[in-house]
Symmetry: C2
Subunit: 410 residues, 2 copies
C-alpha cells in the first residue's frame, strides 16, 4: 500500500462496565475513550487534526445523534476540529477507520483519532434486541421478531448444515475457546463468567435456546464500551518515533484492507451464493482484497486473526473464508486446536465478541487495537508469540457489510 | 487541489413529495435517487465502484439503520460494492461527500456515487421536532422542549441583536428571496406555497411564532427527499468526456473544501466567540479553508452560494461569514438586493432550505448538485448567468459541524 499509514496505539474501556448503572452519559464514555488514548499513546492533543466516530445507533440507545460533535467535547484542544460519524451496523467502527485511512492517504491530515463507541445497556434486553434489528432489513427480517439476530445467524448455521453438515459440538468448541481467551483479557466483558466446553455443549439450563439453533453459549453479548486508535501519516510517525528514540519500523502499519457490502436480506445472500465456492463470497473477497493490498499470499502470512464472532456460526464461517480449511471443513480447525492462542491459526486471542464483549460500534476499532497490541508484543496474557501480522474481520448485519484490516510491523 | 475530483451530475427527487402518503419505504426513495442519477448522468451502473450514503436519523424516522446496505439494493449491479453511511446531523450529506472525495484522492476508486437521503414525514411534527433535537445536545438543549431548533436559531438572532442590532424585517427579506427563488425551481417543496415580504414581516396568523424570535416564515421545513451525485477521478472523467465528445474542462471539479466542528451546545459556542471577529468562527474557517484550497481570494471569486438557511438567522449569519458584508452588517446585503439571482452575490437561487425544502441528510448533496447545475448552465429558471464557481455551506446542529465545497469549471 502506498502512502503508508501507521497506528500509534490507543485505548479500550473495560467492556464489563455498565455505564447506565454508573449513571454516566454517552459523553462520559467518549471522554474516557479519547483521554485514555491520548494518555496511553502520549500524544499531545494539539497534534490531533481530525476525529472520526464509529457508532451504530446512539439515536435509539441514547437518544443522541451528531456524534462527531462529542469528539470535540472530549478535550478542550479539539474545538474546531473536523469530525464525522460513520455507520454500517456492527461494522461501524471499521467504516470510521476507512474514512480516516483514506484522508491520510489523500494527504489531508497527518494524525487522526478514531473512536468506536456504543452505549447499549440503557434499555431492556428485548428493546435492545429490537433496535439491533435495524441492522437487518427491519420490516422484512426483524419487525415483531424477538431477538432477530440469533435467528439470522442460526440460519447461517443451517445453510452450512445443508451444504456440508454441521455439528453443534464444533460451534461449542468455538465458544469455549473465546470464553477461555477472555479470561486472559483484563478488559473482557466475560472474564469472570463461567463457560466451558461442557456447558457450551449442554442443551439445558446451562445453555438455553435463544433463537433457531443458536443457544446462549453461541452468542456474543452487547455491552457499553469504546475503543480508540490513532492513525498517522509517515511524516507524523517519523516525528513520533524520533521523539521516543524508537525505530519507525517498530511502529505498526495498516498493510492492507478490504471492504464489500452484500445484499441486505440473509435470504438474498444465500440465494446469490447458491452455486458459489463460499457461503458469503463478498466476505471472502474482503479478506483476499486485504491480502492483495498487503502483498500477502494467503492466511499463512497472517500470525493471528481478530474476527467477528457475533455468534459461533459467524466464526465458523470465517474459518473457511480465511482459507484455514477448505470450504465447509471449519470443524477441522476446531478439532485440531488450530484456533487457540498457541495454535496454528489463532483466532480471537482477546476473546472476540463472545468473550471480550460486543459494544457494536466499538468492535471494529477494538479488533484493530488488539491487532496493534499483538504485533507490538503488548497483549499481555493473550499475546500470540512473535506475531508480526494480524488481520481483522468486522461484519455488519447478517454478513452484509464486511471490512478487514491487516496491521503489521515491517 | 491535487488529484482532481470531478462531478458528473446527479439527480434530485421532488422535495414536495410525501413518501409516507405514497406508502413508499425508505428503500424506494433510495432506488429512485440512485436510478434517477444513473439515468440523468448516463452512467453504466457497472462503472460505480463505491456507494456513500449521507443520512441523519433513519433509525428514528424509519426504524432502519445499516443504510449503506440500501445502496446495494438500488441496482442489481451493485451487489458486493463497498458502502458506508455518514452522519453529522444536517451536514450528513456533506460528510458523505468528504468520505467519497478523500477515497478518490487517495487513489482507491475512480467513480463514487454519493446519496444524501432522509424520509421524515413518517411521524407527526412534534415527534419529528423531538428527533431533530438529537442534532443538538439532547439532554441539555432539547429534552422536553417543543421544537428545540427554532429556539436555538432564535438565539443566534438574539446574539446578533446583542452584538450589532438586528431587525426582523431583514430576516423577512431573506425569507422572501428564498420563497421567490423556489417558485423557479420545479423540485422545490414550497413552489406552490404563498409567501411574500409582507406575509414574512407580519406578526399575525400569516406568520405565527414558532420559538423565540423565529416565526413561520423564518423556518425551513423538513421533507422527504434524496439528492445523488457522482464523483470521479480524472481518469474516469477523461473517459466520460471522450465518450461524449466533450472537453474535460467542461466538467465541473471540486476545487476546494472546508470542514470544522465547534462545541455542541449553542451557549458554549457563543461563549467561545465572545471576543472573536465572527459569531461562529469555525464556520468562517470552513468558508476560508475552501477558498484557500481552491486558490480563490475571497467571495468575489464566487459567482453564487447555496447556503444552509435552516432558519433566516443562519443565512443572516452566513452573509457576513462569507464576507459579503463586514461582520454584523448582513442587513446591507438584504437591503441592496445583492442576494437575489441577478444580484451581486446570489444566495440560494434554488430557494435554499426555506424554499427548496430540507430533507436533512440530503441537503449537503442537494447543494452540491445545485452548484453543478449552475456551473454547467443547466439550472433552468434559477440559473445565475455565467456562473463558473459556486460555493456551498452545509451546517449540522446549531452551527456545530460545518462543511463547504467549491465546485467550478476551469
Amino acid at each position: 500500500m502506498s502512502n503508508e499509514v501507521y497506528v500509534l496505539g490507543g485505548y479500550q474501556t473495560d467492556f464489563a462496565r455498565n455505564w447506565t448503572k454508573e449513571k454516566k452519559h454517552f459523553n462520559a464514555l467518549m471522554r474516557e475513550g479519547v483521554q485514555g488514548a491520548l494518555e496511553a499513546s502520549q500524544i499531545d492533543p494539539r497534534d490531533v487534526q481530525v476525529g472520526h466516530v464509529g457508532n451504530f445507533a446512539a439515536e435509539l440507545y441514547c437518544k443522541q445523534g451528531h456524534l462527531g460533535a462529542f469528539f470535540v467535547e472530549a478535550h478542550p484542544a479539539f474545538s474546531g476540529l473536523p469530525t464525522g460519524r460513520h455507520e454500517a451496523a456492527c461494522a461501524s467502527g471499521s467504516i470510521a477507520l476507512l474514512a480516516a485511512l483514506a484522508e491520510i492517504q489523500a494527504g489531508w491530515y497527518d494524525l487522526s483519532c478514531v473512536v468506536g463507541i456504543e452505549q447499549m445497556k440503557t434499555v431492556p434486553a428485548t428493546e435492545g434486541g429490537d433496535y439491533l434489528g435495524t441492522a437487518a432489513w427491519y420490516e422484512h427480517e426483524a419487525k415483531g421478531v424477538e431477538f432477530p439476530f440469533p435467528k439470522l445467524f442460526g440460519k447461517l448455521g443451517d445453510e452450512y448444515d445443508k451444504r456440508y453438515g454441521l455439528k453443534d459440538e464444533h460451534l461449542a468448541g468455538i465458544s469455549a475457546v473465546n470464553y477461555a481467551n477472555a479470561k486472559l483479557n483484563p478488559l473482557a466483558q466475560t472474564r469472570s463468567w463461567y463457560m466451558n466446553r461442557e456447558h457450551a455443549c449442554a442443551k439445558d439450563d446451562y445453555n438455553s435456546t435463544i433463537g433457531g439453533r443458536i443457544r446462549l453459549a453461541d452468542c456474543s453479548q452487547v455491552t457499553d464500551g469504546t475503543a480508540t486508535v490513532f492513525l498517522a501519516s509517515r511524516a507524523y510517525a517519523e516525528k513520533y518515533a524520533r521523539a521516543r528514540g524508537i525505530a519507525l519500523e517498530s511502529i505498526p502499519r495498516i498493510k492492507g484492507w478490504g471492504h464489500h457490502t452484500a445484499r441486505l436480506r440473509f435470504a438474498d445472500k444465500v440465494a446469490e451464493s447458491a452455486k458459489a465456492e463460499y457461503v458469503l463470497p463478498h466476505v471472502r473477497s474482503t479478506i483476499t482484497d486485504a491480502w492483495r493490498r498487503a502483498g500477502i499470499a494467503d492466511v499463512n502470512g497472517i500470525d493471528g486473526i481478530e474476527t467477528h464472532d457475533c455468534f459461533t456460526t459467524s466464526e465458523y464461517m470465517a474459518i473457511d473464508h480465511f482459507g484455514i480449511t477448505r470450504p465447509g471443513e471449519s470443524w477441522k480447525a476446531v478439532e485440531e486446536g488450530w484456533l487457540e492462542i498457541g495454535g496454528k491459526h489463532p483466532i480471537n486471542p482477546s476473546g472476540g465478541l463472545i468473550g471480550a464483549g460486543h459494544p457494536v460500534g466499538a468492535t471494529g476499532v477494538r479488533q484493530l487495537l488488539d491487532g496493534y497490541r499483538q504485533v507490538t508484543g503488548t497483549a499481555g496474557d493473550y499475546q500470540v508469540d512473535g506475531a508480526r501480522n494480524f488481520q481483522t474481520l468486522n461484519i455488519g448485519g447478517s454478513g452484509t457489510t464486511s471490512v478487514s484490516f491487516i496491521i503489521g510491523v515491517a
